[in-house]
């Protein structure tokens, strides 16, 4: 995939941080020692992405490069390396589905199928309504409650076909379910409630 294929064809002519984000960027940069300001590249890319409808235009990459005194290609390298940076517009609900082994063993295929059945989208595609974008990602690090679907910043866990459907219903209604396990298990305790140390009471 060349750069052209990775980035949005329709790019804005300019990009600038909002006033609050300028201050935030400054705060982030000062966290790093002098001469090491390039370390701020990821938080700044994230900041730009949050400001710009969940995707980063090339102008933002160039702006960040200039701000951190980095070569543009260095910033682009970082932005293309991590899947959490979007270089193309995504839907309002950006679905990152984990399909790595534990999630896959626990039925991530069903989760994917549910999304495909509803919107006809596979990884990297956006639904016709434009509100949902699906991306298959590697381990999200919550295997204990697999399978996991990350919706924007929130993790939804223990998803089966029906549970995924319920979650998507709630998103369509713009009233998302509370994040966490869809089956209602607390934290990462065993499926069906805790089985050991039941006599132990939480500390006051």
């Amino acid at each position: 995939m060349s750069i052209e294929a990775r980035i949005a064809a329709d790019q804005p002519d300019s990009f600038a941080f909002t006033r609050e984000n300028v201050a935030e960027a400054k705060r982030i940069i000062t966290k790093y020692p002098k001469g090491r300001q390039a370390s701020a590249v990821m938080p700044l890319l994230d900041l730009a992405q949050r400001q710009h409808d969940n995707w980063i235009p090339m102008k933002a990459i160039e702006m960040i490069a200039a701000k951190l005194d980095m070569a543009e290609i260095r910033v682009l390298e970082v932005a293309t390396f991590y899947t959490m940076f979007n270089l193309k517009p995504v839907g309002k609900y950006f679905l990152q589905a984990c399909t790595t082994t534990p999630c896959w063993l626990r039925g991530s295929d069903n989760m994917m199928r549910c999304i495909k059945d509803r919107y006809g989208i596979s990884s990297g595609e956006t639904s016709d309504c434009g509100r949902f974008t699906l991306l298959e990602v590697e381990c999200l690090g919550a295997c204990v409650n697999a399978p996991i679907l990350q919706v924007n910043d929130d993790f939804y866990e223990d998803l089966d076909y029906a549970g995924t459907g319920a979650l998507l219903d709630s998103l369509e209604a713009d009233a998302p379910l509370p994040f966490g396990s869809i089956t209602g298990r607390s934290g990462s305790e065993a499926d069906g409630g805790s089985t050991t140390l039941q006599e132990l009471k939480p500390a006051e």
Binding site: M1, S2, I3, R6, D13, S14, A71, E72, I73, R74, L76, E77, T80, F81
Partner: protein, 690 residues
């Protein structure tokens, strides 16, 4: 200094060396793709795995610092198996298109696959394919072949100083590209072709031209700038096909500039391959050597010594300049000059050499550049300055126009008056010079090739004296020439004798009708029109500026077509070999002068190149010291006159087309156009942003 055992052999290596160095020290060859001596360590190809005692897994020797008491083995089954595994993974996505790949025959992957590769593949999925990238007119890409060693990325970032190459994406979708696919804006860009261990980056002008085993390889010296880069000219039959760098630690290391590498296609165009005589109709017509030499002999015989003159060009070999000088000595004329640009150099040797030597740049701790843009005048030398700057943040001050040197440099303005204020200590940069233990001055032709050049040289001498630029065994006073032949010419004394005319004097005399005959020895960087009142003899290899005004053309040899001595800006004497013969009836230059002398009944004292060189060594002994520099004694030089207020400029206004060869080169023309197009695009983008 850590001591280790490699395959039972005990070796001791420098502090900071790696296990790979230790293995090499022990005489064990380690296969590698990403590791390169002159680049930072990446450790990503994994080909250099070795076994180490107490290490659970094989370790990448290129990235493992050598420690005391390490016991390393490279001959175990595990090492062989690990390397075979790495090779198998590399070949998974590598197309097996060696028969149509230009790298074939000189490919690291091909060679190492012979040692560690399987005879067949176990991989049954689809191979990945990668789109080719545009990298300008010099570099041809076949990115499917790329094994992601990132040598090119590191070279562009570290050595060339143009961080435009990068690896985007990750894992299987990782790709090497430039930002938005611009051409690489570097004078050293084509070195990535040599660095590429596979055929991903190959030479575009040389594409599908020849296989390495078909070529005759000749060791030679580059004449595109005054650095004297060591090169190898590869020729097949009568044609020089490509130029590659040759290792010389004290000059070019293993890099060469794009002009050095690619201007040779200019050797095939606009060549003077037979003698010409300007007829009565004013047109040049082909003639025989006999007629041409006869005509020149008659003209020279008729002219008075004061009314004849010779100018030697920027790429002449020492032998032919020596022969010409001797001819003019015998004719009794002192009107000879090797300084086409009228630079105020000559005389005291320390006053025209790069005294610190090029390797000495590594030791400098402050640098003042006056009237020079080393990036385009001596690209390889500039990479050395950059390396020092990267390592030590070398403070650099520039007197001259604003320019991007690939390192931070403080621009002190174009007004030469700043020199006086540096001298008096008023200028801010003076403090940095004062603090430095090994300060260095580089003065270029932009400052010396002007009417007050002698005064500027004198001022630079004073600055050098004031700030301890010359102290003890350190001589940081450096003249950076742009002409490969200049130091050789000055060493020969090719400057006007007593009462003789310099180039400016020759112009004036020619315009006043006082000059009858001018001999242009491959001199094309002059205002030839001003000489046209005189009878102009042009001896050279290209139909360039000098040939246009010539009345007689004596076709000579270009630098790849003769055995010759060149002296670089440091004063280093280097011998170049002949790769091909001159085209058509063209002859090696010294033989032309010798033939003419014979015609005129003048005995020059030599009949062969060997005899000529013996005479030469007798006259200027240090020419016999091949690859040696005779240090110059620090003495008084330069003038004391008034420095006028004209801005200090640089000698060259571009990189690609600066001499008769590069002006005739199609590749250099394409580079120039690509650069202009990229600039225009950048400018319009900037305008749009404003």
């Amino acid at each position: 200094m850590p001591k280790l055992t490699v395959n039972g052999i005990e070796v001791e290596v420098e502090d900071g060396a790696t296990v790979l160095h230790a293995c090499e020290e022990a005489g064990v060859e380690i296969p590698r793709f990403c590791y390169h001596d002159r680049l930072s360590i990446a450790g990503n190809c994994r080909m250099c795995l070795v076994d180490m005692e107490r290490a659970p897994k094989p370790v990448a020797s290129c990235a493992m610092p050598a420690g005391d008491g390490m016991v390393v083995r490279t001959d175990t089954d595990r090492v062989t198996k690990a390397r075979e595994g790495v090779m198998e993974f590399l070949l998974i996505n590598h197309p097996l298109d060696c028969p149509i790949c230009d790298q074939g025959g000189e490919c690291d992957l091909q060679d190492q696959a012979m040692g560690y590769g399987f005879d067949s593949s176990r991989y049954e999925e689809n191979k990945r394919a990668v789109e080719d990238k545009h990298m300008g007119p010099l570099i041809s890409t076949t990115m499917t072949r790329c094994i992601h060693c990132t040598r090119c990325v590191r070279f562009a970032t570290e050595v060339a100083g143009v961080p435009e190459l990068g690896a985007i994406g990750r894992g299987e979708s990782m790709e090497i590209t430039t930002y938005l696919e611009k051409s690489l804006a570097s004078e050293l860009s084509a070195n990535v072709i040599d660095l590429c261990p596979v055929g991903a980056l190959t030479s575009k002008p040389y594409a599908f031209t020849a296989r390495p085993w078909e070529l005759n390889k000749t060791e030679s010296i580059d004449v595109m700038d005054a650095v004297g880069s060591n090169i190898r000219v590869d020729a097949r039959g009568a044609q020089a096909l490509r130029v590659l760098p040759r290792l010389h630690e004290d000059i070019n290391e293993e890099w060469i500039s794009d002009k050095t590498r690619y201007a040779i296609d200019g050797l095939r165009r606009q060549r003077l391959d037979k003698p010409y005589i300007r007829g009565r109709d004013g047109n040049l017509a082909p003639a025989s050597w006999d007629d041409a030499l006869g005509m020149v002999a008659t003209r020279l015989k008729k002219a008075k010594p004061a009314a004849m003159a010779a100018i030697t060009g920027d790429q002449c070999d020492v032998e032919s300049m020596f022969a010409l000088k001797r001819l003019f000595d015998k004719l009794g004329s002192g009107n000879v000059d090797c300084r086409q640009d009228g630079a105020a150099v000559g005389g005291v040797r320390a006053g025209y050499l790069f005294n610190s030597t090029i390797a000495g740049i590594d030791d400098a701790d402050a640098l003042l550049i006056i009237g020079s843009n080393p990036r385009i005048e001596a690209a390889v030398l500039n990479a050395r300055i950059r390396r020092n700057w990267l390592a030590t943040r070398l403070p650099v001050g520039v007197v001259g126009p604003q320019m991007d040197l690939t390192y931070d440099a403080e621009n002190l303005g174009e007004d030469p008056a700043i020199l006086a204020s540096i001298m008096s200590g008023k200028a801010k940069f003076a403090g940095k010079l004062k603090k430095a233990k090994r300060p260095m001055i580089i003065i270029g032709m932009g400052a010396l090739a002007r009417s007050d050049g002698a005064a500027i040289l004198g001022m630079a001498h004073q600055i050098a004296d004031t700030y301890g630029v010359v102290a003890g065994d350190w001589n940081g006073f450096n003249v950076l020439h742009t002409a490969a032949a200049r130091v050789g010419g000055l060493d020969l004394g090719l400057t006007p004798g007593r009462g003789g005319l310099d180039v400016a004097g020759m112009y004036k005399a020619a315009e006043g009708g006082k000059l009858d005959v001018v001999w242009l020895h491959a001199a094309d960087e002059i205002d030839a029109e001003r000489l046209k009142n005189a009878f102009v003899i042009y001896q050279g290899h290209h139909g360039d500026r000098g040939a246009h005004v010539a009345d007689v053309i004596l076709p000579g040899a270009a630098y790849t077509e003769k055995d010759g001595i060149y002296v670089n800006t440091e004063g280093r004497v280097q011998y170049a070999g002949r790769a091909t013969f001159p085209p058509g009836e063209a002859r090696e230059d010294w033989t032309i002068i010798r033939a003419l002398a014979g015609r005129m009944g003048i005995n020059l004292g030599f009949d062969s190149l060997g005899e000529l060189r013996e005479e030469l060594y007798e006259t200027v002994p240090h020419f016999a010291d091949q690859d040696a520099i005779r240090p110059a004694r620090w003495a008084k030089f330069g003038g004391r006159g008034k420095i006028n207020s004209a801005s200090v400029t640089t000698a060259l206004d571009g990189f690609y087309m600066t001499c008769a060869v590069s002006r005739a080169s199609e590749t250099m023309g394409q580079c120039l156009m690509a650069m202009q197009a990229d600039r225009a695009q950048a400018d319009s983008a900037q305008d749009a942003a404003e």
